[in-house]
């Protein structure tokens, strides 16, 4: 079976849905594809209210933003393909897709927007493969999507926003959070989130790391210890904490296999999660006609992912002549203003700088390849 589209968006999280809305509402034939049974990406497990400006849905809970984006996708005439796995992608934009476990089909598209998100990082220590050790995002999926409590007594590794928010949600779900350990000498995430769990009596152990997890069939206890300035454990500082759940919230890595397959050039940007497909300000990768948005283009937040999805959509629309260059410029200008606002302050400045580096690396690669501008 073959299917054709003007724009194929891979991933139906905040970036993918916004790319779908942007392109669909201007008349392009758009398919948004996702391997999950429901769209929304991480939004549907985010039961907390978002921060930021009203324009970026501050005060609204993540899953409500998901509902709103889905509704807009429908209005824009976007075709949603769920339970559909993209297992390969050629540089000619032919995607191999297995839908609902049936025979593989091909989708050919004029433009591709990758919005594949990220995967959770793992951390290796003795016992890390025991049942009961899992990603914080996995624990969140179990609780908030499947309504299953992943454990009764938890240890959280990592104090970034994911670690802090999931700790709070574990508490809300009736799980005791014994401690949050953070290897750095400071809390990684927003202070409001840290204060919220501290008020509920959760210890945040800075300059600490997990040394070992023990148990017969599953996690029974964890051993944590203090680390020195070089992050090496200090002997004699070990303590044993009785837990049945150890959550790893130690960062995310952009999910970019399809970009590798299609031949995109990458750069290493550890502050944004590692290897990232180079892209320009309009989110086009080094492969012409292939765009990338959201966490797959460097780990940020749902709000920036939504704006990047729109940017990618504008680029695709312009190159397909669904909108004029002037219209594209005016849309881009507005979106870039929003992104500037979102990438401000102590948690935003570095992302702005890293993104600028990505754009300039993209330019270098394109100039070397010859003929761009």
């Amino acid at each position: 079976m073959e299917k054709k589209a003007n724009v194929l968006v891979i991933g139906a999280g905040p970036a993918g849905l916004c790319a779908g809305i942007e392109t669909g509402k201007s008349g392009a034939k758009v398919i948004v594809i996702d391997e999950n049974t429901r769209p929304g990406g991480q939004l549907f497990k985010q039961i907390h209210r978002f921060f930021g400006s009203e324009q970026h849905h501050a005060g609204v809970r993540g899953f409500e933003i998901g509902e709103m984006l889905l509704h807009k996708c429908k209005e824009a005439g976007v075709e949603m393909m769920l339970s559909s796995v993209v297992w390969g992608l050629s540089p000619e934009f032919r995607a191999g897709v297995v839908r609902e476990g049936k025979r593989s089909m091909t989708i050919t598209a004029d433009k591709v927007i990758l919005a594949t998100g990220a995967s959770e990082n793992s951390l290796m220590f003795p016992g890390w493969t025991l049942p009961g050790v899992m990603g914080a995002g996995a624990a969140q999926t179990m609780m908030n999507i499947h309504r299953v409590l992943p454990g009764k007594r938890a240890l959280m590794i990592g104090s970034g926003n994911v670690g802090l928010i999931v700790s709070y949600q574990l508490l809300q779900a009736g799980c005791e959070v014994k401690a949050v350990v953070e290897i750095l000498p400071r809390v990684g995430g927003y202070k409001v989130h840290a204060n919220k769990i501290a008020r509920l009596g959760v210890d945040i152990l800075i300059s600490h790391t997990v040394l070992e997890v023990r148990g017969r069939e599953r996690v029974e206890e964890a051993i944590v210890g203090r680390g020195d300035r070089n992050l090496r454990p200090i002997p004699g500082t070990e303590r044993t904490i009785s837990v049945d759940l150890v959550c790893l919230a130690v960062g995310l890595t952009p999910l970019s296999e399809l970009a590798w397959l299609a031949g995109c050039k990458f750069g290493y940007f550890p502050l944004l999660g590692g290897f990232v497909p180079l892209h320009n300000r309009g989110m086009e990768t080094t492969v012409s006609g292939m765009y990338i948005a959201g966490d797959a283009s460097g780990i940020e937040e749902a709000s920036t992912a939504m704006e990047e999805g729109r940017l990618a959509g504008v680029g695709a629309l312009e190159s397909l002549a669904f909108i004029s260059a002037a219209e594209a410029d005016s849309r881009r200008k507005e979106i870039e203003q929003n992104l500037l606002m979102l990438r401000k302050g102590p948690y935003g400045d570095f992302r702005h700088k890293e993104k600028e580096k990505i754009y300039s690396e993209w330019k270098k690669v394109k100039e070397k390849a010859g003929g761009y501008h």
């Binding site: 593989s104 793992s122 290796m124 890390w128 493969t129 290897f275």
Partner: protein, 91 residues
């Protein structure tokens, strides 16, 4: 199966341990692709999504190479586990 207090599993899908990885690094493996070819680490169901960064860190620690030089192992389709029968031509 031992949890390996001093020799933890790195690649869960293929059950490959840290000491095996250090052994092939000493034998000349300089990047994740070489480790993958010599041991099959990262060739299981998750295709290295879990262990890829762990293996890169071990190589960096053992060889002194920077993580920025250690490209992930080559990506090949299928990037998600699918049944081979799904690729069959219709009769």
């Amino acid at each position: 199966m031992s949890l390996g207090k001093n020799n933890p599993i790195v690649c869960r899908c293929e059950e490959i341990r840290e000491r095996d990885i250090i052994r092939v690094i000493k034998a000349g493996a300089r990047d994740p692709d070489a480790v993958k070819r010599m041991l099959g680490a990262g060739m299981g169901l998750c295709q290295g999504k879990t262990c890829g960064s762990l293996i890169a860190k071990i190589i960096a620690r053992e060889t002194g190479r920077s993580l920025s030089e250690l490209l992930p192992a080559k990506v090949r389709p299928p990037v998600r586990p699918i049944k081979i029968a799904r690729l069959k031509k219709p009769n």
